[in-house]
Symmetry: C2
Subunit: 566 residues, 2 copies
């Protein structure tokens, strides 16, 4: 590259600052300038929930990397990058290769020329229509550093005790957790019928919701905030929902997702995709070869579907920044297709996912086989063992892994990383069932949970096992279908906890070979246990005894998202 190039970057967060820092290392003499409309740069917005809750004490610690705070002075002295905050780009003049920037400190606008422009303008929070919103204080989105500082201050200053979260996406869920752990009353109001709807299949979403409700978060689905009322100081006092529910409320946090911030790009005539985000090629170049874009304002290619989509993840924004800088420096760096991996801490649970859901897979026409496999994350003898539940989705024809969802108090994160990596390389379920993972009792069982999950799917593909999802079993019980729900746990386990329904019959696995023949031969049998391991075993035994219509409930009672009797 021309070492004296002038590179202008719009946006001083993950993608923008990564581009700047990397580019400086690649091009010592380039003139690099970053315009950021807010007051802060290079902050970890993924840390916002933990600042709001106070588990991160000082917001300054959200700004920066290892060893030192990343501010304008740091970037100037250490990185040799000029950063100008409170400066918002208002126009891209592609013909003259200039950007117009308004300085919010002075109110003055100026034009800056560029050789290469990088758009890293992020996203804009979706704003619901709420009657009376403009005349009350106490309604916030959770987007910028300024906002989260204001949110924590508002909660503390006004002694807010009742939090309403509008939207059940992942920031809403994380903030709900963070605030509930401060012992506040937290309610999520969600228009659709479940939380995290696009990220998890229904049974997994229900299990997450069940856990949140056990922890005291109230989840109101199929409703929406319609209006608000305030006290005489103008502070938020209550909300009215579309269905007419009135709830007292100290603060509303809006978390209804983000729209890519692409106004500038569109005005400049840059190509955008159906998702509304800026379209880029694998080098992160826009339709204008002198303009790159990255972060929450661009489209990515989904590795499983091959489709364009938006994926607002700080981790990817960093990777894209690196690709952009390397391309500006003259490399043919490529940002690849990605599986869409995401993870959340939700109270005692980790919930994570990658690839596509079973619902998406079916909509895309895949004949897919899934399994729900709960199990201990270490050998049962090792202290501190905890369960995780894995849902694995596989294309029956090619055996390729399409997606996975993992949750529970055990080490779900590790398992997700394995599957996300495997999916990235096009792994089949057979490949996954034979991985040489890092086994030792403090870390995992000898057959890791993901290997068991892979084997469960392999067995189904081979026709050795048939499973029914807990949702289907619930429907069968509710409809009072003619079948036997056969609980094969021990009597002691059964007495401790069970599904309460007249169809439920107990016959412990150890007695099945000797007493199984008393079951009616022609009836459908759905076996169940705690995790579906013994139920699978029971199916094998029953089939050998001549029973034809046998299946097991996928995931057993551990994956049962409804109430249980004790």
């Amino acid at each position: 590259m021309n070492q004296n190039k002038k590179v202008v970057i719009i946006g001083g967060n993950a993608c923008g600052m990564k581009t700047a820092a990397r580019l400086r290392r690649r091009a010592a003499k380039a003139d690099i300038i970053v315009f950021e409309k807010g007051a802060f740069i290079s902050y970890g917005s993924c840390g916002f929930p933990y600042y709001i809750s106070g588990s991160v004490k000082d917001y300054h610690s959200l700004i920066g990397g290892v060893g030192s705070v990343r501010d304008e002075a740091y970037f100037d002295s250490v990185k040799g990058v000029k950063v100008i905050t409170k400066s918002e780009a208002t126009l891209i003049d592609r013909e003259n290769k200039e950007v117009e920037v308004i300085n919010h400190r002075t109110g003055e606008s100026a034009r800056h020329s560029y050789d290469v422009l990088v758009i890293a303008s992020g996203g804009i929070p979706s704003q619901p229509k709420i009657n009376g919103k403009e005349s009350v204080t106490g309604v916030f989105t959770v987007t910028t550093m300024q906002e989260i500082i204001a949110i924590r201050e508002y909660i503390e200053m006004n002694g807010v005790k009742e939090i309403i979260i509008s939207g059940g996406g992942f920031i809403g869920v994380e903030v709900a957790e963070a605030l509930k752990e401060k012992d506040l009353s937290v309610k999520i109001i969600k228009k659709s019928d479940k939380i995290l709807p696009s990220l998890f299949d229904e049974e997994m979403s229900l299990l997450i919701a069940k856990h949140m409700e056990e922890k005291g978060v109230e989840i109101i689905i199929g409703d929406e905030i319609a209006g608000v009322t305030s006290d005489d100081k103008g502070l938020l006092k209550s909300i009215v929902t579309e269905k007419g529910k009135v709830l007292s409320a100290g603060i509303i946090l809006v978390s209804k997702g983000f729209i890519p911030n692409t106004g500038l790009a569109k005005d400049a005539g840059l190509e955008c995709g159906d998702s509304g985000a800026i379209r880029v090629n694998p080098n992160m170049r826009t339709s204008d070869p002198d303009i790159y874009a990255g972060g929450d304002c661009v489209e990515c290619t989904h590795l499983v579907t091959g489709k364009q989509m938006t994926l607002a993840l700080g981790s990817l924004a960093n990777l894209q920044g690196r690709v952009i800088a390397d391309c500006i420096a003259g490399d043919d760096a490529v940002f690849p297709s990605v599986p869409g991996t995401a993870i959340f801490k939700i109270f005692d649970y980790t919930a994570c996912r990658t690839g596509i859901t079973e619902k998406e897979a079916k909509e895309l026409g895949y004949e897919c086989i899934s399994a729900i496999v709960p199990g201990p994350d270490k050998p049962p003898f090792y202290p501190g063992v905890k369960p995780v539940i894995i849902k694995l989705i596989v294309d029956k024809k090619t055996k390729r892994i399409l997606g996975a969802q993992i949750l529970g108090p055990g080490d779900a994160a590790k398992r997700m990383e394995i599957i996300a990596t495997a999916i990235t390389f096009g792994a089949t379920v057979d490949d996954m069932s034979m991985l040489n993972l890092a086994y030792s009792p403090p870390y995992s069982p000898p057959m890791d949970n993901i290997i068991n999950a892979a084997n469960a799917v392999v067995n189904k593909i081979k026709g050795l096992a048939a499973g029914l999802s807990p949702l289907e079993v619930k429907k069968k019980l509710d409809r009072d279908d003619d079948f036997i729900y056969l609980d094969v746990r021990s009597e002691e386990e059964f007495n401790r906890m069970r599904i309460d329904h007249p169809k439920v019959m107990l016959l412990p696995l150890g007695k099945l070979r000797s007493e199984g023949s008393r079951l009616p031969k022609d009836k459908e049998i759905v076996a169940s246990c705690m995790s579906s391991l013994r139920a699978y075993e029971a199916c094998v035994i029953l089939k050998a005894m001549g029973y034809q219509k046998v299946s097991f409930m996928d995931g057993g009672l551990m994956a049962w998202p409804y109430a249980l009797s004790t």
Copy 2:
């Protein structure tokens, strides 16, 4: 398959019992019989260190899976598998397809016919020559359930306070940790010059040893137990080493690795490899098509080198058992090449590895590029963040990842699983640098440690960075080479801890752009900081200022395995 086949399995541990259980599910009518020479079956020998130390209270909990204890009765009633313990196979008669088995309870021998035979006879511990060993009590290997029960009993009954471990392999290291945590005196005596020599490169091995020594384990290298003395009751009292050192000792635990237990197989004329283990094809079949073998007594194919080797891992024994059962049932199941992943808990550290070491890579003729990259395992602002140190080894020509070693108090396990999975699919370092991993502050930094490690190697391959290993820097300092060791941390950090040597010079990174020019232009400069991040940055700045001979110390002071001044 012929559903009435008679399948005889020699060995009732991981591979043998997995074969039996899986085969029963595949072949309802097969006649399956397992002979185990010991008194216990299906136990988790990887849990032995934790039973010896008492963190696992009851040895029964080492036997079994989820929900129920795996004993003869369990396998009979639930799995429909006949297991006979204390019964040792003494001869394989391939011509007549019979196995001779001696029942140690009755002393009687009998012949049992088979259609298919499975050898899962495990390994035999290497026994060092120790003068006087036969006439003392208190010398144990750590191989069988009986032994570890005896070890714990012996320690408790005799109030043993001084443990000598002969051998520095991974069982020795794990047992050392387990016993040290009980506040006993623990010494490891090791013939070679470092611990875990084949698993870790020298700098990583030294870091592990440093941590063990900080925790109070004494490591004596380059020496060996030559003889023992006993008290008047015949109990072990002291040892004499080859170098003449006399140490008082309450118990000796021998952990010098295992020899594949292949006597039977060799006597029967089955093909064995150079490693001494039984040679099998990808279906786990031996040179006799009616005989399969799996577990610690067979060879595996190394995924990186393509060579045959032994790999005594319980996780693989389970996978192999499944492959054997599926093949007996008529499938073309394949046990793949494996990268050789292993993990250990060593006090506050996790230490793990996969693939080949840098030393091996060089011996095999690879031009390899490595990087040592320490970093926090979460964003610095998140509570409970801890460091991990990654060493990544990459083939310069193909960019393929050859191996990795990770250690530290942070979450090393997760990172190892990612790399082990990536290596399995032939990932290049570029692939790894662009993985879409599961990022959220409770789990990882936005740029995961393994992505930083991949980027460090990429930078070296591109010629953007040059690193020197801490071992090389130590040699340069010891030799008093003509160079500057430039510490670019802050003055405060420097005062807190540093390498004490006249060559060491402090110039904080923030001052480098303004004051760097006072460094002599022609001298070699090795920059260093805490993790090598700032040192890399310093190299970039110095190069831009015209300095030619600049490099940084790989891994910084976090990877410095020698003493530091405070």
